[in-house]
Symmetry: C2
Amino acid sequence: MKVSDTVLAGPDGDVRIGDEHPFVVIGERINPTGRSRLTEEITRGDMTTVRADALAQVAAGARVLDVNAGVPGFDEAEMLSAVVRAVHDVVGVPLCVDSSTPEALEAAIPLARGKVLINSVTAEDRSLDRILPLAKRFGSAVIGMANDEEGISMDPAVRLAAARKVVEAALDHGIAREDVIIDPLAMPIGAAAGAAAGAATTMFETIRLIRDDLGVNVSCGASNISFGMPDRRGIDAGFLAMAIHAGMNAAIANPLHRPVRKAVLAADLLLGRDAFGAAWIADHRAQHSTGD
Amino acid sequence: MKVSDTVLAGPDGDVRIGDEHPFVVIGERINPTGRSRLTEEITRGDMTTVRADALAQVAAGARVLDVNAGVPGFDEAEMLSAVVRAVHDVVGVPLCVDSSTPEALEAAIPLARGKVLINSVTAEDRSLDRILPLAKRFGSAVIGMANDEEGISMDPAVRLAAARKVVEAALDHGIAREDVIIDPLAMPIGAAAGAAAGAATTMFETIRLIRDDLGVNVSCGASNISFGMPDRRGIDAGFLAMAIHAGMNAAIANPLHRPVRKAVLAADLLLGRDAFGAAWIADHRAQHSTGD
């Protein structure tokens, strides 16, 4: 099935995700998980690091920013709303509003400018029933995780079935097919059965199935793949190049990691999505001029 | 069609090229093209740099070494023979004997230990008629270039037809199918029609066709792809990851280029060809201990 473009919108313009466009990095940094300083700041309403991370990621090539403000014991709706406002104080890219709390999404999405991406809905009935009406109400696109009540399968056909359930439920809610992006679930290679086997190959196969059978775009949390391994950025870079070749057109990742940024730019160049190599050469010049 | 393993042999053991094995880097450095010091040395019989390059490439992960001694105006048969002897003085990996001069191949191949790879034959009749009998006579495997008298096409189907001609001619000479490796011809992306479009995507599509239709392994001269571009190694690394995902199991490349080495190791890890991540972790430790 042909994969139609997913189009997000922000004050600075549209972002198109699709086969004919440069790969879209969704900057992952604005997330308190594992970041004690950011956590401490946002829980007292200090948006200094949030703003700095927004600017740095966009400067490094992020075309969309993921925003997450989940800290146990704090009012996520209030904090996520404050983070959305702070990010829009400094950058005009579309946002990927990231929460497992529907109330936080409901509070923060209407504060975001343009058309956002909701991260995420799963194939579980209670998730579909709660999140999809928000996507319809706010005209948002949505990331659907390829897992359901049974958890995460290592069988690509089972993940495809979960993804199909999300797409069909979205269509039932009046959401356009191209406004659903499926996350096939990048798991740590170190944790996969057989050690270092299966997590990536399952991803590549699932990407192909989702594209062919459902005709929707694919994204994932790319840095999960290297969790627990040394030299994580080298693994992330190789994974991204291979997943892009398999048909993935966006990922939540850290563009400040140079190997990740280079892998994405190289993939665009090699796939003919960087006319005249302009982006590759501009990146080279920017690095060269700063001595990096 | 299932791709059978290509097996080379050297004093230190066999090297298997195939889907179930780690990617095979064929070290490209022992080649006078563009290397004035190496050229000057080998034309006066000094093998200092040849030996150093052999040792360094094997230490960096090359499992096979390409050996080329073509310098216009000098006796290539004599020089290639001397290079083969010098390389075997210091390393025991199988060789990829590289010459466009049949007489040089004929002189040098019997000096190489074990079972070698001949680089290369084309689909041109005069090449097939001259090189394939050498492969049969010496029990060698052979790299077949996917071009014929008409030159190099940008149409994957035309390259496939040239590759098929090589495979069928090899079979007619009594050479086993698995002893033919096809080079689909990596061309500079900068030189492709439309600038930076076509050279890599043509490669990826041709790799798939050759594997599916002919059931043979694929290799290429990987660094050609980035010719004329800045940050060549980053392009080579992304290209290798994508081409490996497309089904390429060996390449002539420079393992001393760290991004290239990392891309290959990451691909092996992600495809489940590096049990327990042993090679990835060993590389990390080796780099860490030397402060690289």
